[in-house]
């Protein structure tokens, strides 16, 4: 595996706090602004970057991320350009792990072998592909692991103890626990339920468990981060970007600073998380 992911989780754990994973859509609202956002994220306190790959039919996403994908596609974003974003970022930052998140079809059409080579070359460390459950591991998961790219699996409330071993079998990097049955942007369920689910998954694996879907505020990050190894924030960042745009969907001077301010707040949230746990 690329060493960056494990290193980052180890380093952050040593600080005694959960990891902050930040999602944004590659190419939203345009390539250059998107690159500026990506570079700003670690400086504002993000530990891992989830780089969204736009797809025309995002079946697991709510309206905010759907619209972000449409803005990106309209601005001409492609999988090749998303890899280029990763490459440009990596030229300046060799330590922050990059995880591509999206749907399988753009990768399938790009060609799995060629994609994995180009992704590795661009400095990508992991993949989260929503529509590839373990039953489809031969498609991309196994080839990715063979190349040394992490394949991060989603575990959900419907993944019961009987099924968990299958879900975890070829998972690497971290486990992404989806906090609810639902799409991105939904409301966060009871923190106690989430803590219970995280504990349950941890009895099956040594991998760090990060929680996403519904985490929107610094306070959420603090509360969820009390029991999880990391929290993933997506829709809140995407909404922040959307709210800064012109009516036509163009970037403004407020776009990048708005994301920075939000992520600084979230970062403070994860840094306060274990204080809660100790209470």
């Amino acid at each position: 595996m690329t060493a960056r992911m494990e290193q980052r989780f180890t380093d952050v754990a040593a600080e005694g706090r959960p990891v902050l994973v930040t999602y944004f859509m590659g190419g939203d609202p345009d390539f250059d602004t998107s690159l500026a956002i990506m570079k700003a994220l670690p400086k504002a306190g993000a530990d891992v970057i989830e780089l969204g790959v736009p797809f025309s039919d995002p079946m697991a996403d709510g309206p905010a991320i759907q619209l972000a994908g449409q803005r990106a596609l309209k601005a001409g974003q492609t999988l090749a350009k998303t890899l280029e974003l990763a490459r440009r970022f990596r030229a300046e930052d060799q330590r922050t792990p990059i995880v591509l998140m999206g749907y399988y079809n753009p990768i399938y059409v790009y060609g799995v072998e060629r994609f994995l080579e180009d992704a590795l070359d661009a400095g990508v460390d992991g993949l989260i592909i929503v529509d590839l459950p373990p039953e489809m591991d031969d498609e991309l998961c196994i080839p990715a692991l063979e190349k040394g790219i992490n394949f991060i699996r989603l575990a959900t409330p419907t993944t019961d103890d009987r099924r968990l071993p299958k879900v975890l079998e070829n998972t690497s990097g971290f486990v992404y626990y989806v906090s609810m049955n639902g799409i991105t942007g939904s409301a966060l369920p009871e923190p106690a339920l989430i803590a219970g689910a995280v504990a349950r998954i941890k009895t099956h694996t040594q991998l760090p468990v990060c929680v996403g879907f519904g985490v929107k505020t610094a306070d959420h990050a603090r509360v969820i981060g009390a029991s999880a190894d990391g929290v993933v924030v997506g829709t809140a960042i995407v909404n922040q970007i959307a709210s800064s745009l012109t009516e036509e969907g163009g970037a403004t001077e407020a776009t990048v600073p708005g994301v920075e301010a939000l992520v600084r707040g979230l970062s403070a949230g994860v840094r306060a998380a274990r204080a809660v746990a100790a209470e």
């Binding site: 025309s56 039919d57 459950p133 699996r153 993944t159 049955n181």
Partner: protein
């Protein structure tokens, strides 16, 4: 004499009817490309379906509802005047438009709602294009006392207004979807989002032979009653099998339903008709096989209309039921192995066929099977008078009369 040939046919070593394998694959097509949240449910559905398949009570229930609720068997009709007009092969219609609710869609809905009941689900969702599947879903939901939500593209809500009324009258909630072009693909995305959110209570009643395994196989098996009946009926009428079987292909359920029982009959040529829209040169068509390439969408790998980056195109067809940029995985495979030929028919050709049938036979067909009919009209004159064509008349055209009337400048 010929009948005996059919009855005594030796088992074929390479059957075209063996698929899918246990992972839901037809060659490279099919599969289960869904979010983890849905995966346990899809495995449950598969287990329930495997049990039901061999359960005599399930079969008996299906047959009883088929006979007394749907009105099966549907008639096989010799289109005498159309045959005379075209001057070639004898044309037979399998009259699925006479079913309760007016199309073949009800065959599948009855089967799936029985499964939903067996699984203890308390809420039904469905996607619909032409509204025929929405109406059939709303109908069986009413019949079995379950609440039903139907996702329908906003464009389709407008062009299939009569069916929207019917669904509402039947007690279903119709949710218009404005994403994309507001057609079938967008409705399916939204239905999948609902399903992920309400996975514990909800059964997703998919309306065509597509989606994740086991849907393509299950829908095919529920629709195969069309071909099985037609086979018996044509043997009774003509003493032999047809030379050509034709059906329109949207997602592919009415087509696979009539094709499947004929797949291993070597002497039967089979043709699926895709929506050619305004022509294959631009983007305004839905000919996924003729003009698409393999990709992954809505739970399965199949032929899709897409760009070089794997983004799905919207497509276009005059017929809402064919306005989908993909096709069921079994059709994709049947194309690649060369067993079935897939051809496009343009909007204007379908419109013409619609009018021909209405005037010559007193049958108003839906715009979907009008595509199949246009292909029949092309082929019949080139065939001998002793040859036989069997076409699936999958639905009636009441829902389309306003759309067609507007295009033809009728009324007002």
């Amino acid at each position: 004499m010929i009948r005996e040939q059919y009855v005594n046919q030796p088992p074929k070593p390479n059957s075209f009817r063996a698929g899918p394998d246990e992972d839901g694959r037809f060659g490279i097509f099919g599969g289960r490309f869904v979010a983890e949240t849905l995966m346990p449910l899809i495995l449950d559905l598969q287990a329930e379906w495997n049990k039901a398949k061999t359960d005599p009570t399930f079969k008996a229930e299906l047959e009883k509802l088929g006979a007394h609720y749907i009105g099966r068997p549907s008639p096989l009709y010799f289109a005498e005047r159309l045959t005379a007009e075209l001057g070639g092969a004898k044309i037979y219609f399998k009259r699925e438009e006479l079913n309760h609710t007016g199309s073949h869609k009800i065959n599948n809905c009855i089967g799936q709602i029985l499964l939903a009941k067996r699984m203890g689900k308390t809420r039904i969702i469905a996607e619909t294009g032409a509204g025929q599947h929405g109406v059939a879903s709303a109908t069986v939901a009413a019949r079995f006392g379950l609440p039903c939500v139907v996702y329908m593209g906003a464009t389709d809500v407008e062009r299939q207004a009569p069916n929207v009324f019917r669904m509402k009258l039947l007690g279903a909630e119709v949710k218009p979807v404005t994403a994309g072009n507001g057609t079938l693909k967008d409705a399916m995305n939204e239905a999948l989002r609902d399903w992920v959110t309400n996975v514990d209570s909800t059964y997703y009643l998919i309306g065509t032979a597509a989606g994740p395994h086991p849907y393509p196989e299950m829908v095919r098996d529920f629709q195969s009653v069309i071909g099985e009946e037609a086979k018996e009926q044509i043997l009774a009428a003509e003493g032999r099998l047809p030379d050509l079987v034709v059906a329109a292909v949207g997602g592919g359920s009415n087509a696979i339903g009539i094709f499947h029982p004929f797949l291993d009959e070597g002497g039967v040529k089979i043709v699926g008709v895709e929506a050619g829209g305004k022509g294959l040169d631009g983007d305004e068509h839905c000919a996924s096989i003729t003009a698409g390439s393999p990709g992954v969408l809505h739970g399965n790998r199949t032929y899709l209309l897409q760009d070089g980056d794997g983004q799905i195109k919207e497509g276009h067809s005059i017929s809402a039921g064919l306005d989908y940029p993909g096709i069921g995985p079994e059709h994709a495979w049947l194309n690649d192995v060369g067993r079935v030929e897939y051809v496009p028919i343009m909007d204007h050709e379908a419109l013409e066929a619609f009018q021909t049938l209405t005037r010559l036979e007193g049958i108003i067909p839906a715009l979907e099977p009008s595509h199949a009919l246009a292909e029949v009209i092309k082929r019949a004159p080139k065939m001998g008078k002793d040859e036989i064509i069997l076409m699936n008349l999958s639905g009636r055209g009441d829902k389309d009369i306003f759309t067609v009337g507007k295009i033809l400048g009728m009324g007002q």
